[in-house]
């Protein structure tokens, strides 16, 4: 029972961490919430770590495997957090100042036609800066 709990905890943490990359790499447009917040993944990870703790705290023999898996889970959770909030973090500010005139521009669209900021005078314009096709 203890080993089953410990194994279940490990599987949950693994699913939480690996699932993030599967979702983001295979279907980023379908899961912007997951990509931006990773909340479902964290729920799985927390549940997995809790199961690991329960497994370790149950009385009886055979404590080493649950102990090892708890350690692995904590390390995985730490690596995941490091990736989400440290490795991919950007430094510095960016973007134009709110309340100021938007910088002018004239660029070609996908048909080759030149489009200018002034073309949109009188109507609101939402500019979305993409990093590529994703």
């Amino acid at each position: 029972m203890r080993r089953t709990l410990a194994a279940a905890g490990f599987v949950l943490v693994l699913a939480g961490v690996a699932g993030y990359f599967v979702i983001v790499l295979s279907a980023p447009a379908l899961a912007p919430y997951v990509r931006n917040t990773a909340v479902p993944n964290w729920l799985l990870i927390v549940a997995g770590v809790l199961l690991s703790i329960v497994a370790v705290r149950r009385p009886g023999a055979g404590r080493w495997l649950p102990g090892v898996l708890l350690g692995v889970n904590v390390v995985l959770a730490g690596l995941f957090a490091t990736f989400l909030y440290v490795t991919t973090a950007l430094t510095g500010e960016g973007g134009p100042a709110v309340g100021r005139p938007a910088p002018d521009w004239a660029l070609r669209d996908q048909t080759g036609k030149t489009i200018r900021l002034a073309d949109f005078h009188g109507s609101p314009l939402l500019l979305v800066f993409y990093r590529g096709h994703w």
């Binding site: 983001v24 912007p32 990509r35 931006n36 989400l84 909030y85 991919t88 973090a89 950007l90 500010e93 960016g94 973007g95 134009p96 100042a97 709110v98 309340g99 100021r100 005139p101 938007a102 910088p103 002018d104 521009w105 660029l107 070609r108 669209d109 996908q110 048909t111 080759g112 489009i115 900021l117 002034a118 949109f120 005078h121 009188g122 109507s123 609101p124 314009l125 939402l126 500019l127 979305v128 800066f129 993409y130 990093r131 590529g132 096709h133």
Partner: protein, 90 residues
């Protein structure tokens, strides 16, 4: 985006996009808006993920600039900002 017009034409065709996709290979507009992300893609400079809402008078009214390369501006936030624009401009 920094891709050439031809790449954007292919993207628009494949994805069925009707809105203009601007090509900024020299990062002129991206720099004017302070959105260059240095060496972000195989050593090349590209734009930060960002949305900028400009009103009919050409004033910047709302911006959302990602502070993490994973994160994309939330479309719901942009829609709310557009709605707020409507109420602020009778």
């Amino acid at each position: 985006m920094v891709d050439p017009v031809e790449t954007n034409a292919e993207l628009a065709r494949k994805a069925g996009l009707a809105f203009p996709i601007l090509s900024d290979p020299d990062l002129r507009m991206i720099d004017a808006y302070g959105l260059r992300h240095v060496a972000a893609h195989d050593g090349e400079d590209i734009a930060l993920s960002a949305s900028v809402l400009i009103d009919g008078a050409g004033i910047v009214r709302w911006t959302s600039v990602a502070r993490n390369v994973r994160v994309r501006p939330d479309p719901a936030e942009a829609l709310a900002a557009i709605d707020a624009l409507g109420t602020a401009q009778p």
